[in-house]
Amino acid sequence: MFDFIAWRFLLFAAAFGLLMYLQFYLGHRQWNRLKGEQAGEIDVNYVRTENYMAQSFRMKVKDWLQLPVSQDREFGPVIMKGHERIRTLAGMDLADHATCDDILVLEQNFSCGQGCSLTREVLVHGNSNIGSESRLQSMAADGDLMLGEKVSVARWVDSNGELTLSAGCHVGSRVTSLTRIRLGLGVEIPSASAPQIVTAEWDSKLPGEDPASRDLLEIAFPDGSEAVEESLAAAKLNAKRFVQLGGDTWLYKGEVRPPVPVRLRRKLAVAGDCYFPEGTVLEFDVKAGGSIFLGPSCVIRGNLVADGHIFLGPGCRFSGLVHAEKTLLLSRGTRGFRVDGMVAAYAGEELSLETDVALKGKIASGARAVVIDAAAAQAWRDQRRIQDDGSAVDQVHTS
C-alpha cells in the first residue's frame, strides 16, 4: 500500500515538475528569440493627414512609374509589379459594363459608362466621371471627380478638385477633397473631409446674421445674489445643482431645459439631457452626460459633446467640434464654419445629415454617415421622442 502511494506521489511530483520546467523552458527559449527586438514600433515621424490613403497611393504610383515599361499586345505599354499590371494611358473612356482589373494611371481625363467594374486603384491626373452603378476599388483624381448614382467604392476616393457623390453612392473608407465634396441623397460613407462639404439641395448660402445681436436670457452662474437666482429660475435651473469645476467651467447636476432661448457664456457640463429652444446661443463648450437637442437657428460657438445623441435643429450654426457618443442629426440648413480653422462632427454610431447642410472640415462616424430626406429625419426625431424644434414631446413651450 505504502509503495503504491509513494509511486503515485512520485509520479505526480515528476509530472508537476515537468510542467513547471516546460513553461520556464518555453519562456526562456522565447526570450532568446526576442532578445534585441522592439515590442511595439512607433513611426515617430508620422503625421496623419485626412487624405493619407490617397497620398500614400500617389507616392507609390510615383515609385512604380520608375519601373521598366514593357509592351503588351493587348494593352500597349504596361508596368509589371509582381503579378500586378499598371497601365499608363493618356486618357480613357470605358463603355457601359466594362471591366478592368489593372491599376490605371491616366494623364488626362477618365470616364466610364454605367455598371463598370474597376477592381484596382485608379489615378487620374485630369477630371473623372464614373457612370452609375459602377463598382470601384479606390480612386484619386487631380481634377474634379464625379460619381454617378449608386456607385459603390470599396475603399477611398480623393480629388484635388470638386468631388461629387450622386444619390445612393456608397464608399467603404475615407472621402477627401481639397476643394469641395457634394453628397447626394442616400449617400453612405464613414468619413469625409474637405474645405467644404455640402449635401443635396444646398442653397449656396453661408452664415450671415451676427448672433451677438440677439436679445436672449443670459444664463447666470450662482454667486449667492438674488438676481442670479431669479435669472436661473427664469431658465428653470436650480442654483443648488451648480458646481464650479474650475474658473470658467461649471457642472450642472440635472437636466437643462430652459423654456426660452438662452445665451450661455461659460463652459458647461451637464449630468443629464439638454434641450435648448430655438435661437439659443452657446458661446462656449457644452457637454452632456445624456443627449443634447437644439431647436432651430441655434448658434454654437464652442464645442458640443454628448455621451448620448445630438440633434441640431434646422438652420443651426456651429463653429467648433460636435461629438456624439451615439447618433447625430444635422438638420436641414445646418452650417458648420469658422474663419480661422476647420470644424468637425463625429458620431460614435450613425451620423445623419439632412439635405442642405454645409460645413468646412470633416464629418466622421463610428458606423456610417448618411444623407437622409425629411421623412427619415422625422423618423430619427420620433425615435428619440423630440419635436421638430428640438424640444421633447412632453415639453411645454413658452418661447
Binding site: Q23, F24, L26, G27, H28, R29, Q30, W31, R33, L34, K35, G36, E37, Q38, A39, G40, E41, I42, D43, V44, N45, Y46, V47, R48, S191, V243, Q244, L245, G246, G247, D248, T249, L251, K253, K267, L268, A269, F284, D285, V286, K287, G302, N303, V305, G320, L321, H323, E325, G341, M342, V343, A344, Y346, G348, G361, K362, A364, G366
Partner: protein, 451 residues
C-alpha cells in the same frame, strides 16, 4: 495557540478576499478589452482642436537626454503661435541648464526655466514653472521621453470635452529587448495601458494620469490647487484630486510615446518602491475625499480605492502566505489547501504595477505580439522582485510615519541613453539621431541595439 490560529484564519480569509476582488476586477478589464466596443474616439479630432498649449519638461541632471526631448518637441507638428515649451532645469548640477539655454536661444518657442533651490522632485519643479505657463492646456513629458511629431495634436484633441481635466497617452518602452527585465516591463506596460487604462476609460471609470505623455487643463489644475510637491506620485495625486471635484480623465491609446524602462533589477526596485510609497501616501490623503465625493459613482469610488490601494496587495499577499504557513503547521491544516490555491491564483494576478496575468496576455494579443505570451511564466521573477520591493518600501513608509522621521523622498530613475545628441528623429533632412533608425519600410523607429 488557539488565538494564533484564529488570527491566521482571519488573515488568510482577508488576504484571499482582497486578492480575489482584485483578480476579478482585472479579469473584467481584460475581457472588456477583448469583447466590448471602444467608445470615445477623440482621435478623429486630431488637428481640429488646437488650443494654446504649454509643454512642461522637468529635468534634473538630464544632460544625456535633454537635447533629444527638446529637439523632438520643436519638430512637433503644431502651430508655434499656439505653443510654448517650458524647459525646466530643476537644480541640475550637470550640463542640463546649459543645454536648455542653448535650445532657448535657438528656438523662440522654448523658454528656459531655472529652479535653483526648493524641495520636492518633479512635483516641486512643475509647481515652480506652472505659473509661467500661458497655455489653456499643459502637456507633460519626462526628459527621457521622445514624443512623435503628431503627439501634441493627439493629446490636446480630447480637451474639446469641457469636463475633461486631464488626458493620458500611452507609453511604449524603446529598450524592450535589452534585458529580460526590460522585456517583462514592456509586457507590463502594454498590459497597464492597452488593457488597464483603456478598459477603465471604456467603462466610465478613471484612467490614471501618469504625469508624462499627458496633459492637464490649466483651469482644472488651478481649481484643485496645482501640483503637490510633497507627493512622490504627483500624477496619481492630481488624478484623484481632479475626479473627486467632478473633472474627468481621458485616455488616448493611440497617442504613443517611447520611454526608457529600468534595465537592472536595482533600478526597478527603486522605481517601484517610489510608486508604491507615493500611491499609498495618496490613498491615505485622498481616501476620504474619494468616498465622500458626489462626482464619482459607486463603482467609480470602488475602482478609485482599488487603484490607490493597489500596492497594498503585496503585503496583503505576504500576510496570506504567512497565515497559510501558520495554519499548515497547526492542527487545523485542513483549512489550508482550498484557501492556499485561491491565494496562489489571486496572488499571481497582482504582480508588478497593476498588470495582471490576463492583462499581459490580452495586451500581447491586441498589440499583435502574441509570441510574447510565451514569456509570461518568466514574469514570476518580476512578481517576486516587485512583491519584495513593495513590501520593503511600505514597511519603511509606515515605520517612518509612526516614528515621525519624515515622509517619502524623491529618487530619480536612472537613464541609460548615452548618445542623446539633440538631432531629433529626422534632423530636418532625414538623418536619424542615435536613438532612431530608418527601417527598410522608410519608417523611423527606435533602435534597440547600440542604445
Amino acid at each position: 495557540m488557539l488565538a494564533v490560529i484564529l488570527i491566521a484564519k482571519i488573515c488568510l480569509v482577508f488576504s484571499v478576499t482582497v486578492l480575489t476582488l482584485y483578480a476579478i476586477r482585472h479579469y473584467v478589464f481584460a475581457m472588456s478589452r477583448l469583447f466590448l466596443k471602444h467608445p470615445r474616439e477623440w482621435m478623429e479630432f486630431t488637428g481640429f482642436m488646437l488650443p494654446r498649449t504649454t509643454v512642461l519638461v522637468a529635468m534634473h541632471n538630464e544632460e544625456t537626454v535633454a537635447a533629444d526631448v527638446l529637439q523632438a518637441l520643436v519638430e512637433c507638428d503644431y502651430d508655434w503661435e499656439k505653443l510654448e515649451i517650458l524647459a525646466i532645469d530643476d537644480r541640475s548640477s550637470d550640463r542640463t541648464g546649459a543645454i536648455i539655454d542653448e535650445f532657448a536661444a535657438k528656438y523662440p518657442v522654448i523658454k528656459a526655466v531655472h529652479r535653483e533651490s526648493g524641495e520636492g522632485g518633479k512635483g516641486g519643479a512643475l509647481q515652480f514653472a506652472t505659473p509661467l505657463a500661458t497655455g489653456e492646456v499643459l502637456l507633460l513629458f519626462d526628459a527621457d521621453y521622445f514624443p512623435g511629431r503628431a503627439m501634441i495634436k493627439q493629446l490636446v484633441a480630447p480637451f474639446c470635452d469641457p469636463q475633461i481635466g486631464a488626458v493620458m497617452g500611452r507609453v511604449v518602452p524603446h529598450n524592450t529587448g535589452r534585458t529580460l527585465l526590460t522585456e517583462l516591463l514592456s509586457m507590463e506596460r502594454a498590459a497597464g495601458y492597452q488593457v488597464g487604462q483603456q478598459a477603465r476609460y471604456n467603462m466610465g471609470l478613471t484612467p490614471q494620469f501618469g504625469g508624462t505623455v499627458g496633459g492637464v487643463r490649466a483651469t482644472a489644475l488651478r481649481a484643485v490647487g496645482g501640483w503637490n510637491p510633497e507627493s512622490l506620485t504627483e500624477d496619481t495625486d492630481l488624478t484623484f484630486r481632479l475626479v473627486v471635484r467632478g473633472w474627468k480623465v481621458a485616455y488616448a491609446n493611440r497617442a504613443e510615446c517611447y520611454e526608457e524602462v529600468p534595465e537592472t533589477w536595482e533600478v526597478r526596485r527603486r522605481q517601484i518602491a517610489r510608486w508604491a510609497t507615493g500611491h499609498t501616501d495618496c490613498l491615505h490623503r485622498l481616501q476620504s475625499s474619494v468616498i465622500r465625493s458626489s462626482a464619482l459613482s459607486f463603482f467609480g469610488k470602488v475602482d478609485a480605492l482599488f487603484v490607490l490601494g493597489c500596492y497594498l496587495t503585496a503585503p496583503v499577499l505576504v500576510l496570506g502566505w504567512l497565515a497559510s504557513l501558520v495554519l499548515f503547521f497547526s492542527p487545523q491544516a485542513h483549512y489550508v489547501p482550498a484557501l492556499a490555491i485561491a491565494l496562489t491564483f489571486a496572488g499571481y494576478q497582482m504582480f508588478g504595477n497593476q498588470a495582471t496575468f490576463y492583462e499581459l496576455g490580452v495586451a500581447a494579443l491586441l498589440d499583435g505580439a502574441a509570441r510574447r505570451v510565451l514569456l509570461m511564466p518568466l514574469n514570476l521573477f518580476n512578481f517576486f522582485a516587485s512583491t519584495g520591493a513593495i513590501c520593503r518600501a511600505l514597511f519603511r513608509y509606515y515605520t517612518g510615519k509612526l516614528s515621525g522621521t519624515g515622509g517619502p523622498r524623491w529618487q530619480k530613475t536612472r537613464r541609460y541613453r548615452e548618445n542623446g545628441n539633440g538631432k531629433g528623429f529626422a534632423n530636418g533632412n532625414g538623418a536619424p539621431n542615435g536613438l532612431y533608425s530608418q527601417g527598410a519600410n522608410g519608417l523611423y523607429t527606435c533602435r534597440t541595439t547600440n542604445v
